[in-house]
């Protein structure tokens, strides 16, 4: 078995993990398959240069993130930005602007088991965000893009981006309150 074959197989083994990440961001299976294949191609081509530097997966994920942003740019006219979630604030706040349910302090999970379970809950909650909110939220918080960069990539206004980010954060807060903090030990 040549070194190239072994390397190729090792990279191919990353495909499921990469697909998970790409699907989270793009929320479109076909686009996700495309970016993962592109990222793996680049990785195979450049594998010889990479040899032995940082962790391989981290390196390939770095390539994937660039491909994800390229994909947003290429598909920006097809990325739906309509958000069905416009009743959210009325569900969270009374008509006088007070919280319907008084916020309670969240206790950060301490043990590594609790921490892992918390991250699983967070995963569920991010996946449950309406797609326009989920995309933009992860561009901001996972890909570390600024609002200005997000607006440029998706060709949307600052106001539009602000509304979606606000709703995403409110909705995540509601989801975590319900699914984690209400029943955590």
């Amino acid at each position: 078995v040549s070194a190239d074959d072994a390397r190729g197989r090792e990279l191919e083994g990353l495909r499921p993990a990469l697909l998970r990440i790409a699907r989270l961001h793009l929320r479109n299976d076909a686009w996700a398959e495309d970016v993962v294949s592109e990222a793996l191609l680049v990785a195979v081509e450049k594998a010889a240069d990479f040899e032995g530097r940082s962790a391989q997966k981290t390196w390939v994920v770095g390539i994937l993130k660039h491909k994800i942003i390229d994909s947003f740019r290429a598909h920006r006219r097809e990325v739906p930005l309509d958000d069905p979630d416009d009743g959210l604030e009325d569900a969270v706040f009374q008509s006088d602007g007070h919280y319907r349910e008084w916020p309670v302090e969240w206790v950060t999970p301490e043990t590594s088991l609790a921490q892992r379970q918390f991250l699983e809950t967070l995963d569920v909650c991010v996946n449950e965000l309406p797609s326009a909110q989920g995309r933009i939220f992860l561009m901001r918080e996972w890909l570390d893009l600024s609002t200005a960069e997000i607006c440029k990539e998706l060709a949307i206004t600052t106001t539009n981006a602000g509304v979606l980010l606000h709703r995403a954060r409110l909705r995540l807060r509601e989801c975590l309150q319900l699914r984690w903090f209400q029943q955590s030990p």
Binding site: K57, E141, H166, L170, R173
Partner: protein, 65 residues
Amino acid sequence: MKIWPNLSCRDAAHLITENLDRPLSFAERGALRLHLAICSACPIVIRQMQQIRDGIRAWRDANES
């Protein structure tokens, strides 16, 4: 959003989340500070929003490595 004479928690929530994405203006900072001085709910929400951000970072790192 009206920031004068005082914010509701609903208005404050906008400033709290927007502050995660951009620096607030002088007027916005002042209005938020005034609100936080008399509200016991919103400081909790500020900490929760930070906990969400920290959680997302940890979740991202777990997925990327």
